[in-house]
Amino acid sequence: MTTPAVQHAVDAAFREEWGRIVATLIRRTGDWDLAEECAQEAFAEALRRWPADGIPQRPGAWLTTVAGHRAIDWLRRGARGAELLEQAGREVLPPPGADEEAMAELSGQSGAIEDDRLRLIFTCCHPALPLEGRVALTLRSLAGLSTAEIAHAFLVPEATMAKRLTRTKAKIAAAGIPYRVPPAHLLPERTAGVLAVLYLMFNEGHSASSGTELIRASLCEEAIRLGRALHQLMPDEPEVRGVLALMLLHHSRRHARVGGDGQLITLEEQDRSRWDAAEIQEGLALLESALRQRQAGPYQLQAAIAACHARAATAADTDWPQIAGLYALLERQMPSPVVRLNRAVAVAMAGDIEAALALVDELSGDPRLARYYLLEATRADLLRRRGDQAAAAAAYQRALPLAPSQAERRYLLSRLQETSTGDGRDDTLP
């Protein structure tokens, strides 16, 4: 019988130890499926044995030992033998703690184990793997989400996700992708690749739509958890702290950014008392320590922008000149029309509408923004604020057919009406 205490201990161990166990087993056996399978069996075994034997002092060590022995059994007997073993009732399993070597490895200096998790994350995020596969495999092997859970989070059928995972693992083996932390000369770009996967995972959860909100929101938590683990493993890397700070600062607004009807609430209109103060504090502290290293990369800059919002007690207190400056720095590192457009908005909010309009005009011919409704919507808002109602109305007209959802169309239509009838002169930007 599983008691609540045992269930709790197993759940906690699962969150803490899954990635470690899988990572170590992959290193020892070179077989990803076997590693997952045996890790799963070790947790099942814990549920069976801990109620009678008691919860071991070091659950992670116990689980790794059991999983390791399962792997050895599988390898020794082959698949058929293992099936027989299953029927025979697993009596060959070693008592907990029998594997002294594994215990020693796991107990004190956990260096080798931490390295295994790093090996695992760098391998999952290898740039030769399909991007969707990188995200899925990281969630499966490192975070321990089931195939069904990942499929649900990405709104695809479970069979599709299973295929994606299989294909990704198959490529690692067949193409000879090494299971390792990349050497120093590759580390910066490969680290950027890992951070991109984490941030993609986070955004996938952050942009969750209502019905599936809960499940997808867990992606944010997984991404943050993995970010924390990565920060522990690479404590000197400022961009790792940057991405963790960025995720925490965005996450801190989660309760304020969705209204009762599931509508997104703009930053300006959010009830700031509902922001998570602890996450803001943690994010700000991480960001400050990262910036002290004076190697501000794109994630630190984005986190710094989020920090400007986090520090403002009210929307009116926002330090827009600072944000505009940060966007200019970000644009230098990450030249993108969307960054420039955001910069234009910040410049306008800081008070210089003419400069903002000039930036928007520069973007007019950019084919990458040709179908991006926010270009025309931003231009329209700037023109409206300048008092140029007719030009603003024309820009709202152009934005309207490009708006991706009903909510945005409603907003644009109401603005269009105001500008066509000549009201709304003194409004601020949305």
């Binding site: 793997l129 198959a170 000879g176």
Partner: protein
């Protein structure tokens, strides 16, 4: 692990690119041959020189031009022996060719034996016959039901027969297109992506290099391969001065 590296192209390189590649290639070849990473490599003749061979109802059908009707074609290949994919990526990215052409890195499915004929081919000593690349295309809907193992067995017998006649230079089945990685180098940055250079529903399943008296003989050899009955084989000469 052994990998084939396909060099993708969309046409003749511009003179400036050609000049850079001609100037810098010898040093790259020397370095990679010296490290034992590059086993050999040759440039192919232009795609217009290719024919595609199919056998249907016992009859050999030859059409002009390469198999894939895509803008991109394979312009040449190298064979690498590397510890892992990262080493192959690094070696390919160091080549001046990578600045102008996408390079696809694909593992061989089984051990690839390289004998004396391959050494001669690598040295561009074509005195024993003109080298042709036979590209085995698969995928889509096979013309005849396909039994992989039977095709493999028949393909092996085909290869042994060619070896006995001293027509075989090298060859082997490749891992599937899902295992392909394509790299490009832009502004000193190596861009790595999943998948082959030529993106069609069909895929290159294997390559063989044969040396022949003339194109007709190369076509006959291709027609004798089981894949010609099921799908298609592209036959193209390597470039020689």
């Amino acid at each position: 692990m052994k990998y084939v590296v396909f060099i993708g192209s969309e046409g003749l390189p511009v003179p400036e690119a050609l000049e850079v590649m001609q100037r810098e290639l010898p040093a790259w070849i020397e370095e990679m041959d010296g490290r034992g990473v590059r086993l050999l490599g040759r440039e192919l003749d232009l795609p217009e020189t290719a024919v595609t061979v199919r056998v249907r109802d016992g009859e050999t059908l030859v059409t002009d031009g390469p198999f894939a009707e895509t803008k991109e074609f394979v312009a040449g290949l190298d064979i690498f022996e590397c510890a892992d994919l990262d080493e192959a990526i690094e070696a390919a990215a160091k080549s001046p060719v990578a600045r102008y052409h996408p390079m696809e890195i694909r593992p061989f499915a089984a051990g690839l034996r390289l004998g004396e004929a391959a050494s001669e081919f690598a040295r561009e000593d074509d005195s024993a016959g003109t080298p042709y690349l036979l590209t085995m295309w698969m995928g889509g809907t096979p013309a005849a039901p396909l039994d992989d193992e039977a095709v493999m067995r028949e393909g092996e017998a085909w290869r042994r027969d060619l070896e006995a006649r001293d027509l075989q230079v090298l060859g082997g089945a490749l891992r599937g297109p899902d295992t392909a990685t394509t790299i490009r180098v832009r502004d000193g940055q190596t861009l790595i992506s999943d998948g082959p250079v030529i993106k069609t529903t069909d895929f290159i399943a294997g390559i063989d290099v044969v040396r022949c008296a003339d194109r007709q003989q190369a076509i006959e050899l291709a027609a004798a391969h089981p894949i010609a009955r099921h799908h298609a084989i592209e036959v193209r000469p390597f470039y020689s001065e």
